[in-house]
């Protein structure tokens, strides 16, 4: 039992499958088109990757606790709209608008969590409802028009969040560092902290967790708030980088984010989650989107590949699971 070699132990890790997939994917795209690994393309891919990635990191924790959040896509669109509307109307400075947007997002997360834990409504229904409410609000407030965003140039908030600079030929945005910091912090929380054990216990066996004194509802509400705030932050970062605040942006992101998380190996039913896997899942899907366009497949065919990857990964997981059980 004990003398598994290092390689065997690596293969047994849930992150191994996604890792292989990512390597294969990169190799295939690179062999078709060497520009795929050019500094410019890598920089482009990373810029947007980390924005969706921030949402996926929070979603990993939430899904490990056995819930998920469909309202993240509409928060991604709503928060920058709120921030710019406050700023453009002259009511607040940009920074105050930013804080207000995050606070509203936290409140929305709180409401989600309250409905799910106190009224015992499945998170699918609660967050589906919230998705429509938030998107509807964004559209109503703006009459459906994008907001003016060009006045942020040089604001310190913009510099901290998305300030860009060059490392060699790579154009790097500050958001990459926020993403890395969030991944490390949440990875540690999930695996090394007591909170992480609460999250996994709450998702794995809620009644047993309660019997051991874990505040299951509290954990879930906290994670709903985290998920909303991260989606809101991602939306603001994206809007500052592209100088756009469109009330329609972020449509469909919720499903892409959930796909990233499950491809990485987190169980949709809760109890088991991995941040490393999610990072791999994020890269797999974003590399796929970028690479498909680059090798000349019509971008509209992207979803076919994403769907196939999800189905393939799920089939692999279930096969491994069954083989594992037959082995014991």
């Amino acid at each position: 039992m004990e003398n598994h070699s290092l390689i065997q132990r690596l293969i047994a890790r849930p992150e191994f499958g996604p890792f292989v997939l990512l390597v294969v994917e990169i190799a295939v795209f690179w062999s078709f088109n060497h520009d795929f690994l050019s500094p410019q393309n890598i920089s482009n891919t990373l810029a947007f990757t980390v924005e969706l990635g921030l949402i996926a990191l929070a979603m990993t924790l939430l899904m490990t606790s056995g819930e998920f959040d469909l309202s993240v896509g509409s928060l991604f669109g709503f928060s920058p709209v709120l921030m710019w509307t406050l700023f453009n109307s002259g009511l607040t400075s940009l920074e105050v608008g930013f804080v207000a947007a995050l606070l509203v997002a936290a409140l929305i997360g709180l409401v989600n969590g309250w409905f799910v834990t106190q009224l015992k409504i499945p998170s699918f229904l609660v967050t589906l409802g919230m998705l429509l409410v938030v998107r509807g609000t964004a559209l109503f407030v703006t009459d459906g028009f994008p907001q003016r965003t060009w006045s942020a140039e040089g604001s310190w908030l913009a510099n901290i969040l998305v300030g860009d600079f060059f490392i060699g030929p790579f154009r790097i945005y500050m958001s990459l560092f926020w993403f890395i910091a969030a991944a490390i912090a949440l990875g540690y929380v999930l695996t090394q902290s007591r909170t992480g054990n609460w999250i996994q216990a709450a998702g794995g066996n809620p009644s047993a967790a309660r019997a051991r004194g874990v505040n299951v509802s509290g954990v879930k509400i906290g994670l709903f708030v985290l998920s909303s705030v991260m989606a809101s932050l991602a939306g603001v970062i994206s809007s500052l980088r592209t100088s756009a605040a469109n009330p329609n942006s972020g449509t469909g992101y919720e499903l892409e984010v959930i796909a990233m998380v499950v491809i990485g190996g987190t169980a949709l039913t809760g109890g088991r989650g991995t941040i490393i896997g999610t990072v791999l899942g994020i890269l797999i899907l974003r590399v796929m989107r970028n690479g498909i366009v680059l090798i000349g497949v019509p971008g509209l065919a992207y979803n076919i590949f994403i769907g196939a990857i999800i189905l393939g990964m799920m089939a692999l997981h279930s096969w491994l699971e069954r083989r594992h059980q037959a082995g014991t």
Partner: protein, 512 residues
């Protein structure tokens, strides 16, 4: 002060809905002693323990812990008092590593991070004492049921409780595991810990206990120190248990000598099972005994078409082999009645709908379409026959556990079963319904069904079966029948895989 008992339970009562589970319960546990509570399942043991664990609140009565009046309002309150509890369903996390299971929400922190090293250090000695040589970083799901049970006990012990409560701790343990557990418990007693040990195996309770309380129908009927227990009292306790079971009905005489339909299994393999051979004839009840993980549940699943067999040499009375699916099983009049209700019943539909033709899936009932009139008529007939005591329109989920089980039995009776598989049919059912269900099982056998009955309660097996097949680690360890049939021998067979003396022979015969 130090002479006062550690726990005093006085006149505790609790009922769920209309069913009285605890009527007038009294219990005194002396300091530093092991107190056994024995009684049939359904007698109120588990509820009493849940009251002490803070999971269930009593309706009335008082509890004193350590000489002071105590209200145990939550699991946390119980823990703060120093009560450690291992429930029958211990609430573990199969996907998480063993270590994480041992320290859920009690993780030692080092600079704010969980210290695996300290967790290992703290648990190492305890696990060794319990005889657990497991990889503590492997997921708990990789462990066998016995090991998992010991992990649950270790988890409770890690908190150094003053009173340790164990509910039926050996239900998943084999002989060696039980011996080791007893050794650990005696060691803890020597260190001054008090223990409450609930069990429905009288033999085990007598082996470990200093004091003994027998409970029945939610009352304590006898409470004595182990040494003062006379042999006649011991026999009486045994008899209390036997009186539950109806006398065997004579099988239909026409069937007796002639060619009776039979289920022949020769060399069946699948799941944990290997090379299982036996025959069961119409009109008899064949008991299947075995601990969790022994393969008995695999056998039932195979016969009902839930799992695929590796080697299937089985002949059902209709001449065919194993059913491939559950639907096929039902079509061929093979039915399964399990103690896990819910998978046989639509909780939010009426009794009538649950018995309707579209649900039961039987052929030849006149119409392919759902007819409410027919369904209600059929339900009324079964309600009358099985004394379900509800209207046909009642939601199945609103019935008591016993009532629900009767509806499931009624459903299968409607298709005229030929082979009936029972998997702990009376789990969690009150005594009254239990007796009725036992009588139904007898009736089904007497009317020419082939009945296979599995139960974890040995008294249920010895009380009902004509003969018992004992399983141990995927093999048929032996068969006992007639006057040999007593709990002790059976226990030996299923726990160790052999009986003393001729045990080896039986084992060899069954393999040959």
């Amino acid at each position: 002060m130090s002479d006062s008992p550690i726990l005093l339970v006085r006149n505790v009562a609790r009922s769920f809905g209309g069913t009285v589970v605890l009527e007038d319960m009294n219990l005194v546990i002396e300091r530093g002693s092991i107190h056994a509570v024995v009684g049939e399942s359904g007698a109120g043991k588990s509820t009493l323990i849940k009251v002490l664990a803070g999971i269930v609140r009593p309706d009335s009565g008082t509890i004193e812990f350590d000489g002071k009046k105590a209200t145990i309002s939550s699991p946390n309150a119980a823990r703060k008092l120093g009560i450690g509890v291992v429930l029958q369903q211990p609430g573990l996390f199969p996907e998480r590593p063993v270590l994480a299971n041992l320290f859920v929400n009690r993780e030692p922190l080092h600079n704010g991070l969980i210290s695996r090293r300290e967790m290992e250090a703290r648990s190492r000695d305890l696990l060794r004492q319990l005889g657990l040589a497991v990889d503590v970083r492997a997921p708990l799901g990789d462990l066998g049921p016995g090991e998992r049970q010991l992990i649950a006990i270790a988890r409770a012990l890690l908190e150094n409780p003053r009173l340790l409560i164990l509910d039926d701790p050996h239900s998943a343990l084999d002989r060696r595991g039980t011996d080791r557990l007893f050794a650990v418990l005696r060691g803890l007693k020597a260190k001054g810990m008090s223990m409450l040990y609930a069990s429905n195996r009288l033999e085990d309770a007598l082996a470990i206990a200093d004091q003994l309380t027998v409970i029945r129908n939610g009352r304590d009927v006898l409470s004595k120190a182990r040494q003062e227990l006379t042999t006649s009292e011991e026999a009486m306790i045994g008899q209390l248990r036997q009186s539950l079971f109806p006398l065997p009905l004579r099988a239909m005489p026409t069937l007796a000598g002639t060619l009776r339909p039979q289920l022949a299994v020769s060399g069946l393999g699948g799941g944990r099972l290997n090379g299982i051979s036996f025959t069961a004839r119409a009109g008899e009840i064949v008991g299947l005994a075995g601990l969790a993980g022994s393969g008995v549940s695999d056998l039932l699943a195979l016969l009902f078409g839930q799992h695929k067999a590796r080697v299937s040499r089985v002949r059902f009375p209709d001449g065919d082999g194993l059913p491939k699916t559950r639907t096929e099983a039902a079509r061929r009049n093979i039915c399964m009645i399990s103690g896990e209700r819910g998978n046989g019943l639509m909780q939010d539909k009426s009794i009538a709908f649950n018995l309707a033709n579209v649900v039961v899936g039987a052929r030849d009932w006149g119409s392919r379409w759902y007819s409410p009139v027919m369904a209600v008529a059929r339900a009324a007939r079964q309600i009358e026959a099985l004394r379900i005591r509800s209207a046909p329109e009642t939601r199945a989920g609103s019935l008591s556990a016993g009532g629900q089980q009767k509806v499931i039995i009624a459903k299968w009776l409607e298709i005229g079963p030929q082979v009936v598989l029972f998997d702990e049919p009376a789990r969690g059912i009150d005594i009254g319904s239990k007796q009725e269900i036992y009588a139904l099982i007898r009736q089904m056998a007497a009317s020419g069904c082939i009945v296979l009955l599995h139960s974890r309660e040995l008294s249920e097996l010895t009380g009902l079966s004509d003969r018992i097949l004992a399983f141990h680690q995927g093999r048929l360890a032996g068969e006992i029948a007639g006057p040999d049939m007593d709990g002790g021998r059976l226990l030996q067979l299923i726990a160790a895989g052999e009986a003393e003396g001729e045990g080896r022979q039986i084992k060899l015969e069954s393999v040959a």
